[in-house]
């Protein structure tokens, strides 16, 4: 029985439409100017390459070229490391509060120029402007604010009085959160008195180059931050460089293993933040509406290009059907399209390579017999796009349950008891993150203790805060970033 016929004011019935279409709400892109060509940022100046080459970065939503940039060669990396070494002598002896003041200045300028950073990030990466505006850029600024506060308090960092910086840090970051990963790397390094040579990802160099401008604007001493754009070879030169004391890498497990092999036998300190295949565990007593939001946020945030994404949904078998029904209904409201539209929830896949990997793994999932559901939505004709996808009937033995897909693809598995949930969640070579959804506090604590993951979120997912250490177990890497624990990656005890 529908009571919709009661007392309808006749004058308004014609207003009722099946859906209320949101009009396009494009973010203006003229707030940021993109240089057609880009040099390297070494020793506080823009310098031409010595032995490198040039390549282009695309807007993944349109496949249009945004700019060309330099692929730094070995001599460029040498120059950058030398500049960082020179700057280290004075930066490491600077009054700690003054180092902090530099970081505060950088943080404030990032906030002032937040709109520029957000637009540039969405253009270069393909992520929705809502996300770059509300998550990436504010969190990046927060990392600088947080570590600025540590600069003159390192005696309390847990390494005893008078801890010393390591020297020159060679840092290589991925394309999924270009500016945020830069902040995770540079802010603690600088706060602890190190200097930095950072290589941004091949497909997303632009916000790092804009950050170099911010360093100039903040009067950061020359050579404290050096940005060398480039490809995998550039990164390999950097991490294996004799002048580098510390290597920090975020990216794939395969590259992480290669770096570990390269630096083996050297004095370099290393932190690696690698892949993941996180279990998001939903118990039958969970707050269901919020659990569904957490599942959506866990795997479809940033198109699933998140190393800690909740890509394996473990649902208690007695609520499997309800959860999947609610989930697919909720997914129906997702808006896929122009990353610069303020109402877009799902943006573009970052590159054609990544789109190819996702497509192959999804084909494997279908071939292995899992049931595929995908969002019924139109895809733009240009650019790289993938529909939000949910696989049900997935078993631990399936490729899509074990391999990191790094895309908007969720695998749904079931469990019967808490013990089985723990066993399935831990049954992976990875161990970066996990989620637990239950209204029972004691179960949260028990699960958090038994899950072998660096981060366990309870009744939430994908929450990041500079005060909270982040890092993995097993093949998800080693070392922690953020919080007090993250400082120890950039310090050594007093001599």
């Amino acid at each position: 029985m529908a009571r919709t016929d009661l007392d309808t004011p006749t004058s308004v019935t014609d207003l009722v439409t099946p859906t209320w279409e949101y009009a396009p709400a494009p973010q203006a892109t003229d707030v940021v100017s993109i240089a057609a060509t880009n040099d390297l940022f070494i020793g506080g100046d823009w310098v031409s390459t010595r032995d490198g080459s040039t390549t282009a970065t695309l807007n993944p939503a349109t496949e249009e070229q945004l700019a060309t940039y330099t692929v730094a060669g070995p001599a460029d990396v040498d120059a950058a490391v030398a500049a960082a070494r020179t700057a280290f002598a004075s930066w490491s002896r600077l009054r700690p509060a003054t180092r902090g003041a530099h970081l505060y200045r950088i943080a404030r300028i990032m906030q002032e120029r937040a709109r520029e950073f957000a637009v540039l990030e969405s253009l270069d990466n393909g992520k929705p402007i809502r996300e770059s505006r509300d998550v990436d850029v504010p969190t990046a600024a927060a990392h600088f604010f947080y570590h600025a506060g540590w600069a003159d308090k390192l005696d309390w960092a847990g390494l005893g009085p008078g801890p010393r910086p390591l020297g020159v840090a060679g840092q290589v970051i991925p394309w999924n959160f270009p500016l945020l990963m830069l902040a995770w790397k540079i802010a603690p390094a600088l706060a602890c008195g190190n200097t930095v040579v950072l290589k941004p990802a091949e497909t997303t160099p632009l916000t790092a180059l804009l950050f170099a401008e911010v360093c100039q604007q903040a009067d950061l001493p020359p050579g404290v931050v050096n940005i060398v754009t480039g490809d995998g070879d550039t990164g390999a030169h950097l991490v294996s460089h004799d002048g580098v004391d510390k290597v920090a890498f975020t990216g794939s497990t395969a590259v992480g293993k290669a770096i570990a092999r390269q630096v083996a036998g050297s004095d370099k300190k290393v932190t690696l933040e690698l892949g993941g295949k996180a279990a998001n565990i939903v118990f039958d007593d969970a707050a269901m509406d919020q659990a569904v939001e957490g599942i959506v946020n866990g795997i479809f945030f940033n198109q699933g290009h998140v190393c800690c994404a909740g890509s394996r949904l473990l649902v208690q078998e007695n609520v499997h059907e309800e959860v999947v029904d609610r989930l697919t209904e909720r997914l129906g409201t997702l808006r896929l399209g122009d990353p610069l539209d303020k109402n877009t929830d799902i943006g573009a896949i970052n590159s054609s390579d990544q789109l190819g990997r996702i497509t192959d793994l999804v084909a494997a999932g279908e071939a292995e017999g899992a049931t595929k559901w995908e969002l019924d939505c139109a895809l733009p004709t240009n650019g790289f796009w993938f529909r939000p996808t949910v696989f049900t009937g997935v078993e631990q033995s399936h490729t899509i349950a074990t391999d990191e897909i790094f895309g908007p693809v969720l695998s749904v598995l079931t469990f019967r008891t808490p013990d089985e949930a723990v066993a399935k969640a831990n049954n992976t070579p990875y161990g970066l993150s996990a989620g637990v959804w239950t209204e029972k506090g004691s179960r949260i604590l028990e699960m958090a203790g038994r899950l072998r993951a660096g981060v366990v979120w309870a009744n939430t997912f994908n929450r990041f805060d500079p005060t909270s250490p982040f890092g993995g177990y097993k093949e998800s890497g080693y070392g922690r970033e953020g919080g007090r624990h993250g400082l120890s990656a950039y310090l050594k005890p007093a001599a």
Binding site: M1, A2, R3, T4, D5, L6, D7, T8, P9, T10, S11, V12, L15, V16, T17, P18, T19, W20, E21, Y22, A23, P24, A25, R130, D134, D285, A286, A287, M288, D289, Q290, A291, E293, G294, T333, K342, N343, E439, N459, T460
Partner: protein, 320 residues
């Protein structure tokens, strides 16, 4: 609880409302609400950017969803007539401007409103059942309801007994809603939960299901006499309840957010919630209402500025 309980509930909920114990275990068995997650989701939806045609359509829809309200001790027939005139033609300069959904008054002024509204199509809603506190006997509450309905009210806005709810006497709350449902006849029954006094989202969810199971056509957040009144998170819990109730029983019921909604921007954010939490099917004045007095003026000012590019003074709007 009595036989009346059985008559109130849809077949899927007959078992759950069979006895006080069954009702308690049903309500306590509803899934919980995680406050942090709920508020995060609602804050996320508030960033939807509503522009151009969407804004125009949204404003007109919001006007058509307003229950234009006066609930003061100083209300007079003259005041109510002025409000009715405004409700029929909110913008006298524009015949395309929709009428409001209803005029909401105390029971003794229903007859005045019915006469003033004539065949305009605008409804007359009466608050009843010892509004706003609900602190009286069932007999008085039913007499109050009967007074309103006999005077011609097309909608009854009742209050639940929050004291009974908070002390766990769910059956009493249920029976009172069933009795008010009967006394309301063909009038639409809106059940005011007074969420500001229920305090937790878990309580709001239980009260929502209780009111829906007992036969309320619409569940309504607040009387407007208690702070906080309507909030977007609490309205989201009500929208989840009617969505899930429809899924379970096939019966489609409505939601009314009342109190504290004053700006067009806020109203549009509520409409986004309706669309994305309950579903686009609820975007009709039958199924979603705003209980408000000053909201209408801001909607009209925004409507004019969207159409003309000029934002004029409230002096150009007839007051009521």
């Amino acid at each position: 609880m009595s036989v009346t309980a059985r008559q109130g509930a849809p077949p899927e909920l007959l078992e759950a409302t069979r006895s006080e114990a069954a009702l308690r275990s049903f309500l306590h068995g509803l899934g919980g609400v995680d406050a942090v997650g709920l508020e995060t989701r609602v804050a996320g939806l508030a960033t939807r950017s509503i522009k151009k045609d969407a804004k125009l359509a949204g404003i007109d829809l919001a006007i058509a969803m307003v229950d234009l309200t006066t609930l003061e001790g100083q209300d007079t027939p003259g005041k109510v007539r002025a409000l009715c005139a405004k409700g029929i033609h909110p913008d006298p300069g524009d015949d395309d401007c929709p009428s409001v959904a209803a005029i909401c008054v105390y029971p003794d002024l229903v007859a005045t409103a019915v006469e003033a509204l004539g065949d305009s199509g605008v409804g007359v809603a009466a608050v009843a059942t010892a509004f706003p506190a609900g602190r009286s006997s069932l007999e008085v509450k039913i007499a109050d309801t009967t007074l309103a309905v006999e005077a011609g009210a097309s909608e009854v806005d009742m209050v639940i007994d929050r004291g009974a709810f908070l002390s766990g006497r769910y059956g009493q709350v249920f029976d009172e809603i069933v009795a008010a449902r009967e006394a309301s006849g063909n009038a639409k029954l809106k059940v005011i939960l007074e969420t500001g006094e229920l305090a937790t989202y878990d309580n709001v969810r239980r009260a929502s299901w209780l009111a829906l199971a007992a036969g309320g056509d619409v569940i309504k957040t607040s009387t407007g006499k208690v702070s906080p009144a309507a909030t977007r998170p609490v309205t989201a819990v009500l929208l989840q309840a009617v969505r899930d109730f429809a899924r379970l029983t096939g019966e489609v019921r409505g939601v009314k957010a009342a109190g504290g909604i004053r700006t067009s921007k806020d109203a549009l954010r509520y409409l986004v919630l309706v669309q994305e939490v309950a579903g686009p099917g609820w975007l009709t004045p039958d199924l979603f209402r705003f209980g408000a007095s000053s909201l209408l003026d801001d909607l009209l000012l925004q409507r004019t500025s969207q159409r003309t590019g000029r934002y004029h003074s409230a002096d150009y709007l007839p007051m009521a």
